[in-house]
């Protein structure tokens, strides 16, 4: 259709200069950090008390946005783990026999205390992990509180969750959590374990221990009986000691697939139960009948949420070939509006990469992608000079044979492939050792149901991405692990019949 139109309108009215430049960079809006209380040194939380590590060794935990030290944290070892497991074992005797509705009261109390201190938690999570304050404030902390609320509700209703099966707690559970959602992952694991009457030894990731230690303070204040929750900070040897401790009855692990495999081997031949939530390389699939502008938003949210440090990140984008050009253009335009920078600024979309090692790994893959001949796109955004930052990155024109498509990068890097038919995209989406999550974008309901039954992934989002809720089970297929966390399914790994 031909319409002739000219943009030759006369300059009108008083112009307001300098507005443009101001709106290009919103004025700094830093979250206040005056209200937080941090100690300069953190000890281990064992048997209801903060105790020094037996080795008396400490390590520095840093702010990845500045590279500067925040606090010293106890370096736990095998002996500390042993003390913690023994405390948990002792506490199990009475905790497992505590009235379920009494257990619920403690869990509700913890949930409310997290809400009361939500701002403090959000700021510390951002300081220690590098994620934007918008995410820790709007997602991590509220969701963590919600998990405690949700599982508190189950504590005295377990026989309804498992009718006629008489569910009983397992014993001491060893929980090892990752650095990408430090508080939230602690909540995912602690809440169902407490609700079902187990006791816990939790090991936070070495780079992000602070919110778990703040949580320890809350647990102490809540009056939860000593030894029910123990938190031991440290490195890999500490986690390994926990996995191998004979008095641990169950391991819950979220982290990398290689470590998951190690745990599987270590517990072989024992009667330890395990749930493993491991890596992923999710397909995010866009059909030509999708609501494209909203899909672009979903792509951005799928891969750049938490700097891409998300095991279920939509890191492989599949676009139906007839709309590929359009979607890629829109995606680039959208990426130009993303603000990368100080995680504590309320307007920051993409914060700091969690650690130097992770940044090096991501940069390695960005170089590899270029070497493999994929077309790279990064917006011309400014990035702070200090700290660990990475621009949001696209690789266009990739195929299943590219290593950047096959391997988990765990950073803000998206690979783009095109497809022609539904069969082709299902085959490609499943052609990966992982199977944690996937996304589908189409206006057609029948297409969604067709795909959800054929994609080998534990979680599939339709016309949205990265949505989490305590009522919804989460977990993987294949090398993304096994067992489910969240929902009524999330109770199962913590009970025996």
């Amino acid at each position: 259709m031909a319409t002739t139109k000219k943009n030759n309108i006369k300059k009108s009215t008083t112009s307001v200069s300098s507005v443009k430049s101001v709106f290009q960079n919103y004025a700094p809006a830093p979250e206040s950090i005056d209200h937080i209380q941090l100690k300069s040194q953190y000890d281990l939380f064992i048997n209801g008390k903060f105790v020094k590590p037996l080795s008396n060794e400490y390590y520095d935990t840093i702010n990845p946005a500045t590279g500067k030290k925040i606090a010293s944290v106890a370096k736990g070892n095998e002996k500390d783990i042993d003390a913690a497991v023994k405390a948990a074992n002792k506490a199990f005797e009475s905790w497992s026999k505590t009235e379920p509705k009494e257990r619920a009261k403690y869990i509700y109390r913890i949930a409310r205390m997290i809400q009361e201190r939500a701002r403090e938690f959000a700021v510390i999570e951002t300081m220690n992990g590098g994620k934007s304050i918008r995410e820790s404030r709007d997602i991590d902390v509220p969701l963590a509180a919600n998990h405690f609320f949700y599982y508190a509700g189950w504590a005295d209703k377990l026989e309804y969750a498992f009718p006629n099966r008489n569910p009983k707690p397992i014993g001491v559970t060893g929980q090892i959590i990752p650095w990408n959602f430090p508080l939230l992952m602690a909540a995912w694991k602690l809440a169902p374990a407490l609700a079902t009457g187990n006791t816990i030894v939790l090991k936070p990731a070495e780079s992000t221990p602070l919110t778990a230690l703040k949580l320890a303070e809350i647990i102490q204040e809540s009056g939860l009986p000593d030894g029910v929750v123990n938190i031991v900070t440290g490195f890999g040897d500490c986690g390994s000691a926990l996995v191998n401790h004979p008095q641990v009855n169950k391991i819950a692990f979220t982290g990398s697939t290689p470590v998951g495999k190690y745990i599987q081997k270590a517990i072989a031949g024992t009667n330890k139960k395990a749930t493993l939530e491991l890596g992923g390389k999710a397909a995010n699939i866009i059909f030509d009948d999708a609501p494209i502008d909203q899909a672009v938003e979903g792509i951005v949210n799928g891969i750049f949420f938490n700097q891409g440090h998300v095991c279920c990140a939509g890191s492989r984008l599949f676009i139906q070939e007839n709309i590929a050009e359009k979607v890629i253009k829109k995606l680039k335009d959208r990426m130009r509006t993303l603000i990368v920078g100080d995680p504590m600024d309320k307007n920051t979309d993409i914060g700091a990469i969690n650690s130097k090692e992770q940044l090096e790994k991501i940069n390695h893959y960005i170089k590899l992608g270029q070497k493999e001949g994929a077309e790279i796109f990064q917006p011309e955004c400014s990035v702070p000079a200090n700290g660990f930052f990475c621009k949001p990155t696209l690789f266009i024109g990739t195929s299943q044979s590219h290593r950047i498509v096959q391997e988990e990068i765990f950073g803000p890097v998206l690979t783009i492939q095109t497809f022609r038919t539904i069969e082709e995209v299902i085959e490609k989406a499943n052609n990966i050792p992982y199977g944690l999550s996937a996304g589908v974008w189409t206006d057609k309901g029948s297409k969604i149901f067709n795909l959800t039954s054929k994609l080998r992934a534990g979680v599939i989002w339709a016309n949205t991405y990265n949505k989490f809720d305590p009522t919804s089970p989460f977990g993987g297929y294949k090398e993304s692990g096994f067992g489910r966390e969240g929902g009524v399914h999330g109770l199962l790994p913590y009970v025996k019949f």
Partner: protein
């Protein structure tokens, strides 16, 4: 024209809007944003009881928003019924404030093509710089898209040099899919601006509706290189809301659109709320509403 098959996901649109609203606009961004918003206002009176006196008073206000605060812009335009265009034009003589006139049997649009065209001609002959027409929502909802398209095209022609704003009256279109379809029809038929509402129907302008219209403008620009303006109207009464719209505009269409040539607020009470905020910047305290003129 080929009818648009763009689908809209309402939940996704609402989530995007929620993201815009988490932007924290402080200090100089806020100040400049408020000045820009003032400069984008179409100060409006569209009442049955409008008189020459009312229109003249409003026109003075458009040029002198608050003379005690230095460096304020004027509004972009005043918006009146066709029979008040002459009065407004005369009252605004010598200023840069435009006169916009509603036309085409505003607000229902239920009249013959002949009368609608006559309505436009009267407005233009009387000196209107801009014409705000309404689409035939009944025909649109009945599926007569060609009728709607042809009518807009005919009115565009009748406008001559005046810029045409096409009011979709989104509160009557029910779905965002319809909003997108109507936006595309209006743009391809020759609209210079697309506008959400008459202000006579609730809901009037909302951020989700405006976002869908901005995205239609972006798609058209990407395809043709031609810019189309946007005017949310009705329901925007606070400076906070205005800033949220500007954030949405900036992040959707970019800085090229950040002028009153391409973006307007159709509002009657927004200006005074912004003046209240600007007064606070100047005096350090919120002063009483009685200090702000109510023309």
């Amino acid at each position: 024209m080929k009818l648009s098959n763009v689908t809209i996901d309402q939940v996704g649109v609402e989530e995007r809007v929620a993201r815009f609203n988490t932007r924290s606009i402080k200090k100089e961004s806020k100040l400049q944003g408020m000045l820009l918003a003032l400069n984008m206002i179409d100060l409006t009176t569209l009442e049955g009881k409008d008189t020459a006196g009312k229109v003249k008073q409003m026109c003075y206000k458009a040029m002198h928003l608050a003379d005690d605060i230095e460096g304020l812009p004027t509004t972009a335009a005043v918006c009146v019924y066709p029979n008040h265009v002459k009065t407004a034009k005369k009252a605004l003589e010598g200023s840069n404030v435009k006169v916009a006139s509603v036309a085409t049997a505003f607000p229902s649009g239920n009249s013959s093509r002949k009368i609608k065209l006559e309505d436009v001609k009267i407005a233009v002959t009387n000196g209107a710089d801009e014409v705000d027409m309404v689409i035939s929502r009944g025909e649109f909802l009945a599926g007569n898209y060609n009728f709607v398209f042809d009518e807009i095209a005919a009115i565009k022609e009748a406008c001559g040099a005046a810029r045409l704003k096409v009011i979709l009256e989104t509160g009557e279109l029910s779905t965002l899919d319809n909003v997108r379809k109507a936006s595309d029809i209006a743009i391809y038929a020759g609209a210079d601006f697309i506008k959400t509402s008459t202000g006579k129907i609730q809901p009037a302008a909302t951020m989700p509706v405006t976002l869908v219209m901005l995205q239609a403008i972006k798609d058209y620009y990407d395809e043709t290189g031609i810019m189309i303006g946007m005017k949310p109207a009705g329901g925007i009464s606070t400076s906070k809301q205005a800033l949220q719209y500007l954030v949405m505009l900036y992040e959707t269409l970019g800085e090229k659109w950040m002028t009153n040539e391409w973006f307007r607020f159709g509002a009657s009470s927004l200006a005074n709320d912004i003046l209240l905020q600007l007064g606070k910047e100047k005096y350090g305290v919120y002063y009483s509403g009685d200090y702000i003129s109510k023309d």
